[in-house]
Symmetry: C2
C-alpha cells in the first residue's frame, strides 16, 4: 500500500503539456491516407468499402478527441444520471408516503413504517458504501478541491466509487433524511469525467493529460445538472474548488453545464412532469414592485443572522464529528458496529419528524422538495390583518397546526432541522449539506418575512398603491444567505435565481449573501474547509482576511535551513546517506558542497533507482561470474553457478562488492534531473510564497541566494508559517505522511514540474516504481541482509542464490534483485 500511496502524479501538471498526433485536426493527412492506394479502381468493392470504413473510423476517432465531444457526452451522461436518480428518489419517497398513508388505522404501525423505512435505507446505504468503496462517503467537494490542487487521492475517481456513490446517494436521499445531493453530484460528475476520459482514450481520445481542466468542468456540470443551474453551477464550482482560475477554461464549464441542465430539464418535459423547460422551484412573485427600499434593513438582518447561523452550523458539524472521534469508548464501539451509528441517527431524526408525533409542530410530513416549494410560496401565511384569509391548501396544510400558529411551527422547524442537518451530514453515507442548509435558510427567511408581513399588513410603501410584503421573497433571500454562509460562496445568489426562475430580488439577495459571507468568513472556515481539516486532506488553507501581520513573515523565517543535498561529484555512499537522513521527496542537486550552487533537483525515487542500478542483480551476477570463471578456467552453465558457489562465499563477496560499488562516483547521466526547480529568495514574503504555491500547485521550493542553495520551504512550512488550522503539529504532519480513514491511501504530487520540462508524459508511461526506497528500508538494508540470512536460513539463502543465478541473459525480465528483496521484508516469504 505504501508503494501505491507514494505513486507520483506527473500528469497533474501535465495538463499543460500534452501532445496530439499530427493527424488530429489535420484533414490533409486524412486525404493523404486515401490517395496512395494503388489501382483503387481495380480493387474489389469490399476492399474499397473497408478503406472507406477505415477513413470514417479515423474521422470519428479524430472527432472523439475534441473537447466539445467530451463535454457533450459528460453533460449527457450526468443529466441522465441526475434525472434517473431524482426519479428513483421520488419513487422511494412516494413509497414511504404510501406506506405511511396506508397504515393510518394504527399509529404504532404507522410509526414503525415511518421509522423503519429510512433506517433500512440509510443502513443499506452506509453498509453498501462501506463495503464497495468507503471513499464514496460524504460530500466529495473537499476531496475534489484537494484533487484539483494536484494531489492524487487514491480510488477517488474509480468506477467502484462511482457505483457506490450513485446507489448510496439514491438510498440516502430516498430515506427523506435532511441530506443534500449537490456535493456528491460534484464528485459523481468528476468520476464520470474520469471514467469517460478513460473510455474515450480507448478510441484515441487523449484526455488523460487534460484531466484537471476536465475535472474542473465536471464540477460545474455536477452542480449545474443537480439544480438545473448552469451559471450558478459554474460559479459555485469555481468558488468551492479553485484557488486560481484559468479564464481560458471558463467556456468548458459553461458549455457542459448548460448542455447538462438542458438535457436534465428536457427529460422532465419528455416525462410529462413539466409542460416546458422552467426553473426547478419556480416562484411567481410580482414583477412590477418586488420589494420596497425600506425592506432592505430586514434583508440585511437576514444576511447577518445567516452569517452567524452558517458559522454555527459549521462549528456544530465539526464538533459532532470530533466528539464521536474523541470519545474512545463510543468510537471503539462504533468502529465495531459500523452501521449502528447511521441507524441510530436515522431512528432519532425520523422519530422526531413523525407527523402524528412531534412532526406536527415542524411540518414533518413534507419532503425537502415540498418544504422548499411551500416556503417559496407566493402567499402570506400569517393571517393578522389580511383581509382575504386564504386557505392552507394542499401541501401548505403541513405548516398549519390547530393549536399553534405558523410562527411557532417555523421556529421549531428551524431549530430542529438545524441540529438534525448538522448531525445527519456526519452519517457515513454519500451526502451533502447544501440542500438541508438551503431549506433551513429558506425557513428562516420565511419567518422574517411573515413577521414583516404581520408587522406591516399593508406593506411599507405609503404611496397610492398598496404593495403587500412578499414573505416568499424573504425565503429566497434567506436560502441564498445561509447556504452562502455555510459554503463561503457568493454564487448561491445566482443559484437561487436559477432555481426560482426569478431575478427580481437580486439586490436583497446579493446584499444578504455578501453580509452573510462577511460574518461567516470571519468566524469559521467554510464547511468544505472544515471537512478538509477534519479529514486532514493535504490542502494549503487560504490566507484569511485580516491576517496582515503575516505579510511581515518572510521565507527566511520559516525555511528549513538544514537540508540534505546531492552534489555533482558525490559517491553512491553519499546518496545512500542522504536517503537515510531525510524524507524529502525531491533532493536538491548542487555543484559542490563548497559552492552550493543549485543545479537542479532530483527525485528521491531517481536516487533510489541510481543506487539500485549500481547494486543491481545483473551487475552482481557479472561480478560473481567474473569471480567464478577465472577460478575454474572453463565456462559453466548459468544454472550450475548456484551449485558452484557456496552461500557463505556469496554473502561475503556481495557485501565486499557492494562496499566497493558504493565508493564509486555517481554517474548522473541516466537520472532524470529537473534542471529548473522552483526557487525563492530569502526575502520573499509568506503571502507571496503562498500565492506562488497556490498558483503553480507547488509542494516545495528551494531557497537560493545568488545561485547558492540556502534552504527549502514546503507546504508544511508555509502552512505552519501562516498559522494554519491552529498550527498543531498533528495537522502539519499530514503534509509529510499519508493520513487516516477515509482518505487512507493517497500520495502527494512529487516533482512539481512547474518548470520540470516535458518529462511528465514520459514518466507516466513508466510503471510506477514498485519499491520506493523509503528511508527505514534503506537504513536497514544490511541488517535485513543478515536477518534474511539468519532467520529463515535455508529459504533465505536459496532465495538469494536463485535470484542471483536466474538472470544470466541481459534483456530478460528483471525479477527484483536482493537489494530490493532486502528492502521488502514481506516479500521474503514470497521468494
Amino acid at each position: 500500500d505504501c508503494s501505491a500511496a507514494s505513486r507520483q502524479r506527473p500528469e497533474s501538471r501535465g495538463c499543460l503539456c500534452f501532445k496530439r498526433p499530427l493527424w488530429k485536426n489535420n484533414p490533409t493527412y486524412l486525404c493523404h491516407l486515401s490517395v496512395p492506394i494503388p489501382g483503387a479502381s481495380g480493387l474489389e468493392p469490399a476492399l474499397v468499402s473497408t478503406v472507406c470504413a477505415l477513413q470514417c473510423q479515423r474521422f470519428l476517432i479524430s472527432k472523439v478527441g475534441e473537447d466539445w465531444v467530451f463535454l457533450i457526452l459528460l453533460g449527457l451522461v450526468m443529466a441522465l444520471v441526475s434525472w434517473a436518480m431524482d426519479f428513483a428518489i421520488a419513487t422511494c419517497l412516494q413509497a414511504q408516503k404510501w406506506m405511511y398513508g396506508g397504515l393510518d388505522t394504527n399509529v404504532l404501525l404507522q410509526y414503525m413504517a415511518w421509522v423503519t423505512y429510512p433506517t433500512v435505507l440509510i443502513t443499506f446505504s452506509a453498509g453498501f458504501t462501506q463495503i464497495l468503496a468507503p471513499q464514496a462517503v460524504g460530500s466529495g467537494i473537499p476531496e475534489m478541491k484537494t484533487i484539483l490542487r494536484g494531489v492524487v487521492l487514491k480510488e477517488y475517481l474509480t468506477l467502484k466509487t462511482f457505483v457506490a456513490k450513485v446507489i448510496g446517494l439514491t438510498c440516502a436521499l430516498g430515506s427523506g433524511m435532511p441530506l443534500g445531493k449537490e456535493g456528491p453530484f460534484v464528485h459523481i460528475a468528476s468520476m464520470c469525467a474520469a471514467l469517460l476520459s478513460r473510455f474515450l482514450s480507448l478510441f484515441g481520445g487523449f484526455y488523460e493529460a487534460r484531466n484537471i481542466e476536465m475535472l474542473a468542468a465536471a464540477c460545474a456540470v455536477g452542480v449545474g445538472c443537480c439544480f438545473a443551474a448552469p451559471i450558478g453551477g459554474v460559479l459555485f464550482s469555481i468558488e468551492v474548488t479553485s484557488t486560481f482560475f484559468a479564464v481560458r477554461n471558463y467556456w468548458r464549464g459553461f458549455f457542459a453545464a448548460t448542455f447538462s441542465a438542458f438535457i436534465f430539464r428536457v427529460l422532465a418535459v419528455w416525462n410529462k412532469d413539466e409542460e416546458t423547460i422552467t426553473a426547478l422551484f419556480k416562484t411567481r412573485f410580482r414583477l412590477d414592485f418586488p420589494f420596497d427600499l425600506q425592506e432592505l434593513p430586514a434583508f440585511a438582518v437576514i444576511g447577518i443572522a445567516s452569517g452567524f447561523g452558517g458559522a454555527l452550523f459549521v462549528y456544530l458539524n465539526r464538533k459532532i464529528v470530533q466528539f464521536m472521534r474523541r470519545q474512545k469508548a463510543i468510537n471503539r464501539f462504533l468502529m465495531k458496529k459500523r452501521l449502528l451509528f447511521p441507524a441510530l441517527v436515522t431512528l432519532i431524526i425520523s422519530t422526531l419528524t413523525f407527523p402524528p408525533g412531534f412532526g406536527q409542530f415542524m411540518a414533518g410530513q413534507l419532503t425537502q422538495k415540498d418544504t422548499l416549494v411551500t416556503l417559496f410560496d407566493n402567499q402570506t401565511w400569517a393571517k393578522q390583518g389580511i383581509n382575504d384569509e386564504f386557505e392552507y391548501l394542499g401541501i401548505l396544510e403541513a405548516w398549519l397546526h390547530p393549536r399553534s400558529n405558523v410562527f411557532v411551527t417555523l421556529v421549531v422547524f428551524i431549530l430542529m432541522k438545524f441540529w438534525m442537518s448538522a448531525l445527519a451530514t456526519t452519517i457515513p453515507v454519500p451526502c451533502g449539506a447544501f440542500m438541508p442548509v438551503f431549506v433551513i435558510g429558506a425557513a428562516f427567511g420565511r419567518l422574517v418575512g411573515e413577521s414583516m408581513a404581520a408587522w406591516f399588513p399593508d406593506g411599507i410603501h405609503t404611496d397610492s398603491n398598496i404593495y403587500r410584503i412578499v414573505p416568499g421573497g424573504y425565503a429566497v433571500v434567506g436560502a441564498a444567505a445561509l447556504s452562502g454562509a455555510v459554503t463561503h460562496t457568493v454564487s448561491t445568489a445566482v443559484i437561487v435565481f436559477e432555481l426560482t426562475g426569478q431575478i427580481s430580488h437580486i439586490l436583497p439577495v446579493m446584499i444578504a449573501v455578501i453580509l452573510a459571507n462577511a460574518v461567516a468568513q470571519s468566524l469559521q472556515p467554510s464547511l468544505y474547509d472544515s471537512i478538509i481539516r477534519i479529514k486532514k486532506l493535504p490542502y494549503l488553507p487560504e490566507l484569511g482576511w485580516g491576517h496582515h501581520e503575516k505579510y511581515s513573515v518572510r521565507v527566511e523565517d520559516i525555511m528549513v535551513r538544514d537540508i540534505r543535498y546531492v552534489t555533482l561529484n558525490c559517491k553512491y555512499r553519499d546518496l545512500q546517506q542522504v536517503l537515510h537522513s531525510t524524507k524529502m521527496k525531491n533532493l536538491p542537486l548542487v555543484e559542490s558542497a563548497e559552492s552550493m550552487i543549485l543545479l537542479g533537483s532530483i527525485e528521491r525515487t531517481q536516487v533510489g533507482a541510481l543506487l539500485s542500478t549500481q547494486l543491481s542483480p545483473q551487475r552482481r551476477l557479472l561480478m560473481l561470474r567474473q569471480k567464478v570463471l577465472p577460478e575454474d578456467g572453463h565456462q559453466l552453465s548459468d544454472s550450475s553457478i548456484r551449485f558452484q558457489v557456496s552461500a557463505a562465499t556469496i554473502l561475503g563477496d556481495i557485501l565486499e562488492w557492494e562496499e566497493q560499488q558504493l565508493d564509486q562516483l555517481v554517474d548522473f547521466s541516466s537520472a532524470k534531473i529537473d534542471p529548473a526547480p522552483f526557487q525563492l529568495v530569502e526575502h520573499t514574503s509568506l503571502h507571496k510564497t503562498h500565492t506562488i504555491f497556490s498558483l503553480l500547485g507547488l509542494d516545495h521550493a528551494f531557497v537560493t541566494s545568488i545561485g547558492r542553495l540556502v534552504g527549502m520551504v514546503s507546504l508544511k512550512e508555509v502552512s505552519r508559517g501562516q498559522g494554519g488550522w491552529g498550527g498543531t503539529e498533528q495537522h502539519l504532519e499530514l503534509f509529510a505522511h499519508g493520513f487516516g480513514v477515509p482518505a487512507a491511501a493517497q500520495g502527494h504530487r512529487g516533482l512539481p514540474d512547474g518548470q520540470g520540462g516535458e518529462g511528465a508524459p514520459a514518466a507516466r508511461q513508466l510503471p510506477p516504481t514498485p519499491y520506493p526506497l523509503s528511508p527505514p528500508c534503506i537504513a536497514s538494508q544490511q541488517t535485513w541482509g543478515r536477518l534474511a540470512g539468519l532467520t529463515p536460513l535455508l529459504q533465505g539463502w536459496i532465495g538469494t542464490a536463485v535470484l542471483v543465478a536466474q538472470i544470466p541473459q541481459p534483456g530478460g525480465l528483471h525479477p527484483p534483485g536482493p537489494a530490493v528483496f532486502l528492502c521488502q521484508p514481506h516479500a521474503a516469504t514470497k521468494v
Copy 2:
C-alpha cells in the same frame, strides 16, 4: 519621454508583498498608546481631548486602510458618477428632441438642428479629449487588460484622463450616436480606484501595493454600475480583463459592484424616476410558459447567426481603422484636421437617421435606450393572424411605417446600425461598442421573433393552452448572443438577465451565447483583442482553440540562443559593451563565461547605474581635485576650480580617467540583483510556456540546462512561436519598443519579480531613474562629448566646467553630471 516610458513598475507584482504597520488591526497597540501617559488625571482637559482626538484619528485611519472601506467608497463614487452622467446624457438627448420638436414647421431647420447638435457635441468631445488627455479615447478595456497584465501604460490612470473621459463620454453619448458607455466605464472606474487609492494613502491607507487587486474590482464596478448588473459585471470584467483569476479576490468585485449598483438604483428611486429598485430594462414576459421546447432551434439559429455577425463586426471595425491608417493621403489630411473625421462621421450618421428622411425606415428618432425598451416589448408587432391587433402606442410608433411593414424597418435598422456602429466606434472620442452591438443583437432577435410569430400565429405548442410566441424573448436572446460574440464572453447572458430583471429565458440565452461564442471565436479575435492588436499594446494573445500543433513546439525551438550576459568577474567596459550590444531589459548574471551557471538577473537600469556611479561627477571631481591640489600645493576654494583648470585639460583628463575607470572590475555589491529569475528548460512546450507567462505575468524567462544558461525566451518569442496575430514582424516589434498613438508612452514591466524578493516596495520609494542608459545613448556617449564641445562650443564648455565645479560638498543636491548630460542632448541648452 523616453525615460518615463521605460519606467519600471515593481509594484505590479508588489501587490503580493505589501506590508502594513503593526498597529493596524492590532487594537492592543492602540490601548498601549493611551496607557503610558503619566499622571493623566492631573492633565489639563485640553491635552486629554487632544489625546482622544489623536486616538480617534488613529482609529479612523486604521479603518481607512481596510479593503471594504475602499470598496464602498469606490462603489459610491462610481454610482454617483454613473447616475450623474446618465442624467446629463438624458438631458442632452432631451434637448435635441426638444429642438427637433420645436422646429417642426420647417424641415430644413429641423434637419439643421438634428445634424448640428450631435456634430457639435462629438467635435467638442473629440477636441476636448485630444487636448486634455488623448489616452481617454476609445473603450479602455483593451488598455485595462494590458494594465492588469502588469504593463504600465503612462497617463492612463490619472485625474486628467478621468476628467477627459467623463466629460468626453457624456458629450459623445449625449449626441445620440450609436456609442456605448460600458467600456469607458471600466476605464473610469479603474481611474477612480487609482485616484481613490492615492487620495486614501494621504490618510494612511496602503493601497498602492494592492493596486492590481483593486483595479480588478474596479473593472467589475464599472460594468456593474453601468448596467446595474453586479453579477454580470463581475463575470464580464473577469472574462475581458483576466487570464488567471484569483478566487480570493472574487468577493471584492461582488461587494463593490453590488454596492455600486445598489446606490445607482437608489438614486433613481430618490430622483422619483422609479418607484422602487428594479431592473434597468424591465421586461414582463409571462412566467408560466416562457417558451416552447420547439422554439429552441430558432434560438440556436440566432446564436449561430450572431456568431457570424459578431465576427463580421470585429472585422469591419478593424478594416475601417486600418483603411484610415493605410491611406496615406487621408491619414495625413486627418492628422492635420483632427476634428474633421469625427464631424464628418457624425454628419453622415445623423443625416441618415434624420426621422423625416431615411430615418423613418429605421426608427431613427429613438434613442438607444428607447430602442431597447421597444425591442424588449412584450407585444407582437407583426399583425398577421393576431386577433387583437394592438395599437403602436407611444414610442413604439417609431417602428411603424405607413408604407412598409415592421420587418423591413427591422432589416433596414439592423443593416444601417451595423456599419454605423462599426464606423462610429472608430471616432476618437471616449466610447464603447457594447451597447450598440447589444441593440443590433436585440433588433436581430426581434426580427427572428417576429418572423416566428408570423409563422406560428398561435404558437407552436399544440396542447390545450395557446401560448403565443414572445418576440421580446427573442430580442433578449439576440442581444446577449451578439454582444457575447463581439466580446467573446459568456457573461453577457447574466448581464441580460440583470438588465431585464427576468431569468426565464435562461436556457435559450445560454445556448445562443455559447453557439455565438463558438462561431465568433473560431473566426476573429474579440473586439478588445482586435483593438489591442491595432494599438499594438504589449499583450500576449491567448492560445486559440484547436491550435494543437503548437503543443509540439518547444522552448528550444523558439528561444534566443545568442544572448548577452554579465559575468561576476567582468569589467565596467564589459558592462558598457553589453549595454551597447543588446536591448534586453534584464541581463542574466552568470558565474563565468566558461561555466555559464546562471546566478541571477540584473536590470538594465541597474547596470546603467553601476556605470554611472563608476563615472559619476563626484568621483570625477574627486579625481580632478586630487589632480589640481597637488600641483598648487594649497587648498583652493571650490568655485575657483573652474578658473584654474583649462577646458582642454579637463577633457583630456576626463577621457583618460574614464578609460581607466572602465578597466576596473565591477563591484556588484551595490546593485540590485534578482537572485532567482524565472527559468525554463529546453523541453518545455510552448503551451506550457504560454501558461506560465500568463500565470505569473512574466515578460521573459531564461532557459537553463542543469544550471547553465543556454538561452532566453521573451513574450516576443512566445508570441512568434504561437503564430501570434498572423506572426508579422511588425506586431512583434511592439514587445521590444514602445508603440504609437494613442498608447505612445508606455513601458514594459521590467523585472518580473515573481521571485525577485521584496525589493519592490523599496524600489518604489526611490525616484525613478531619470536617465535610462538606452543603447544609442551609451553608444554615442563619447561622440556626444565631442559634439557638445564643438557645436555650441562656449556653452558646452562652460556647462561642463560649471557642472564639474558645482558639487563640492557631498550630500548637496546632485545636478546631472556630464555622463548624464551627454546622454540627453536637449538638456544641454538648459544648463
